[in-house]
């Protein structure tokens, strides 16, 4: 279940240039070493939050499916769910 190079490319193309949006990887790996190994191997460019920190926050409530993309606003309201709808909405945020 690793990030395809296309996701890194989409992130660089659609998220990085847009200051109104950031993508955060919520790692569901059971240990941090596995998450780090993946990040190193695929040179993941986005911020990551480790599983133990997710479980201690409200971020655990948005989804329990993997992989999942959820777009939320800065108040935590869900705006879109699923890669297609999230990326469609992303392209309207200017």
């Amino acid at each position: 279940m690793q990030a395809a190079p296309q996701l890194v490319e989409s992130y660089q193309k659609d998220v990085v240039p847009n200051p109104k949006v950031e993508m955060i990887h919520l790692s569901r790996d059971r240990n941090n070493a596995a998450a780090l190994k993946w990040a190193r191997n695929d040179k993941l460019p986005w911020p990551t939050i480790m599983r133990d920190q997710i479980d201690a926050s409200l971020l655990t409530h948005y989804s329990n499916r993997l992989p999942t993309y959820i777009l939320i606003d800065h108040e935590g309201n869900k705006v879109a769910e699923g890669k297609g709808p999230v990326w469609s909405k992303l392209k309207t945020i200017k």
Partner: protein, 133 residues
């Protein structure tokens, strides 16, 4: 001590300008000019302090300055206002539930994860739930 956004803006504007290079200042009627380094600018009070060559600091009303100088001050204050506003917005955001959740972000730097924080508060976040397996 907690400061309001307005207090932050005034402090940033008043204290944050000392590193700018010396420039030529011109009087409102453009009859006089002098060299000096902007040391402080209090936009709320309309006062500016300029360090001059003899080591002294002159503090006077911006009404005594040319239109170009007043424009320069407004631009510099605008830059600092943006920084202070951004900082205040970040502090406010990190007190919210969603903001607190993002205080534990890390990002790959070289071969290891390092703590990461937003430079400014985005309007939207894509939460990408995934794992290496």
């Amino acid at each position: 001590m907690k400061l309001s956004i307005k207090q932050c803006l005034i402090m940033a504007t008043a204290l944050g300008l000392g590193f700018l290079p010396a420039r030529t200042w011109t009087s409102a009627d453009e009859s006089k000019s002098f060299e000096g380094k902007l040391k402080a600018y209090d936009a709320a009070a309309g006062k500016v302090s300029v360090a001059v060559r003899n080591g002294k600091t002159l503090t006077f009303s911006i009404d005594k300055l040319s239109e170009a100088d007043r424009k320069f001050l407004a631009e510099e204050a605008g830059k600092l206002d943006g920084t202070a506003e951004n900082k205040a917005a970040m502090e406010e955001f990190t007190r919210t539930d969603i903001g607190k959740a993002f205080t534990k972000m890390q990002i790959l730097e070289g071969e290891a994860f390092a703590p990461h924080e937003f430079e400014s508060v985005p309007d939207y976040f894509i939460l990408y739930y995934s794992a290496s397996w």
